[in-house]
Symmetry: C2
Subunit: 366 residues, 2 copies
């Protein structure tokens, strides 16, 4: 594996949109008992369902620790590849490489990772194994790598349309726990150079209570160029209302890199999802404290879906709005099969289906 010292922009590489053709997908098998109930048993069922759905139309590799390797191999379909790889947790979106291509070759970007805020407001300690994964994955796939380990960024904090536009949130990218010494303009420059985009659309916030400092991938996602879904609520008493409304205003008053206005599809959230006392009792403690408390609101959103080659794998919550969300994605992705996965046990870990997946774009020569 070679480390490349230039930038994707300089080399004619860019990050394709998630809806562009994939070579495959990377996931990580969940294990830590302070993130996932019952020693990970609950989450693993849901992860396996997600991997099975995605692997119907692209090659899925699941990284598992030595301890979980046998479980992963037994529970996952034969067509899914399991490789041993150590991690601190299971958020492939946030620490697998971001892949870029020039239409012929694939390369990876290794962003720095500090558990969503490091010693300022990070979610666990240590995070060294997560941080090493992008490098190991580039090596595994035998692709060269841009090493940006000193710039903190998670894959879930950016969405691109593959045509020059990136959407992100100020709440996350300007947080004190990531790159406090960089100005907004300097951060923009990193995105321009490494994603190879022209225009960055800054939403103020994400989903209320989202402990990633409000990643964009939980509130807003491209479904095609110049067209997004936006997590929404009509309940003005819900703190989410103001956050979503502000996003809508930003989106309605901007254009993308090609000068197009952006069509926004409102995607109603489920009713607030809160964790039960029984669920909390199924979680190990961290730093001598419970990681969650009964009644705590979880950052539930249907926007946290994964677009596979022939499918969209989306979270549902056993909520009346599930059907609306399924219908909306069915309409927006007419060529893809919609796979709803009951995702409460992923949500309890702090994210959802998009957060636990990372697509590998198809480079044309493969």
């Amino acid at each position: 594996m070679k480390i490349i010292n230039s930038t994707p922009r300089a080399d004619g590489f860019h990050m394709p949109a998630e809806f562009a053709p994939h070579y495959g997908c990377i996931m990580i098998f969940p294990e830590r008992a302070d993130s996932w109930q019952y020693g990970g048993y609950a989450a693993r069922r849901a992860f396996v369902e997600v991997a099975a759905a995605i692997s119907e139309s692209e090659k899925v590799t699941v990284c598992a620790s030595e301890k979980q390797y046998e479980n992963a191999r037994r529970l996952l379909p034969e067509r899914v590849r399991v490789v041993e790889m150590s991690s601190n947790d299971a958020w492939a979106r946030d620490y697998a490489p971001t892949f870029v291509t020039d239409g012929k070759t694939l390369r990876g970007i290794n962003w720095g990772f500090n558990a969503w805020g490091g010693l300022v407001d990070g979610l666990y300690f240590p995070w060294d194994l997560d941080d090493k994964m992008a490098r190991k994955l580039c090596d595994l796939y035998e692709i060269d790598m841009y090493d940006l380990c000193n710039f903190i960024l998670e894959g879930g904090s950016i969405h691109v349309d593959g045509e020059g536009t990136c959407i992100t949130t100020e709440a996350c990218l300007l947080s004190k726990g990531r790159n406090p010494n960089l100005t907004k303009e300097e951060i923009e420059n990193y995105l321009r150079e490494f994603l190879n985009v022209e225009k960055i659309i800054w939403l103020k916030n994400g989903i209320f209570g989202d402990e990633t400092n409000e990643h964009v991938d939980n509130i807003c996602a491209f479904v095609k160029p110049a067209e997004v879904v936006l997590a929404w609520t009509e309940d003005r008493a819900d703190p989410q209302y103001e956050l979503s409304r502000a996003c809508l205003e930003t989106l309605e008053n901007t254009t993308d890199a090609r000068g197009r206005r952006i069509k926004v599809h409102k995607m109603l959230c489920p009713k607030p999802v809160t964790i039960t006392a029984e669920e909390c009792a199924g979680l190990d403690t961290m730093n001598f404290a419970p990681t969650r408390t009964a009644g705590e609101r979880l950052a539930a959103s249907y926007v946290n879906f994964y677009i596979a080659n022939n499918a969209v794998v989306m979270p549902i919550f056993n909520d009346p709005n599930d059907d609306l969300a399924v219908d909306l994605l069915t309409k927006l992705f007419p060529t893809r099969k919609i796979f709803p996965v009951y995702a409460r046990d992923i949500l309890i870990g702090g994210g959802n289906i998009h957060c636990i997946t990372q697509q590998i774009p198809l480079a044309k020569n493969e």
Copy 2:
């Protein structure tokens, strides 16, 4: 990864000779401080030299533990792939899969592994991580696998000519620590079915003091069909003399699967190699005892070489016979570059270059 319940013979698959074209080679990064001096530092230098030489003409993947991953990545050439994989030690020959092909597709065999004798006379405990590697490697390479986990066999205990003949040693395959409930005929049948060979040539012994129960790969190797090198000494006072002489007698009085007589090239061993007190002091203890004692004779032999696509990587010992061995292999492999590697620090671990490598044959459709 699919488990196949038939046998290679039934499916038209066989194990090719090592001198047939390779897709690549698997190695494991050495780490355990009771096998390798100075926490593995000494051995790693030699392993890196071996990997560098092999990777000049085939794709090399080195498996490294999480702890050694960074060292491996830094020390090995960029063209070598490093993947994280846990092991108990570093003997790829003995627990990586044995690969078979039908000329189009590659499959792996997962033999059982019990550290060269299990609780009878095995060399360390536990050996579970080693034993899992063949399965993980088949998964990694996305090939299907014959699972023979209840039949104990190490890759270093067999050599094949790719044309129906296997050479092995009675000292190893009939040892009490491996398959004590199987008769010699039953063991032969496993070899016939899984390597897809017709004729098994049983040498009585291997190299004097070889703690693998005298693997064939340290005493005798095919250089082409019906032609072998045999480790030799002219010193009648050396206990090796009788062992090598008996092998010669066996080889001279048999024919291979195709009825050919076997041409034997005697390969003079180096003078007995013994471990020094200083070297012993560089090894951690195991079970509260030193793993080696000063003056202990090591099983040094030039036969423990690896045949790569365009090279033969061979051990040398700073011995007057080094040149003879290099000259012999130069003559026997006229199309390959001979890479002598000073291998004392590998030998101290208990094996040599062949023991730390496992070739992956080229399946024609790749």
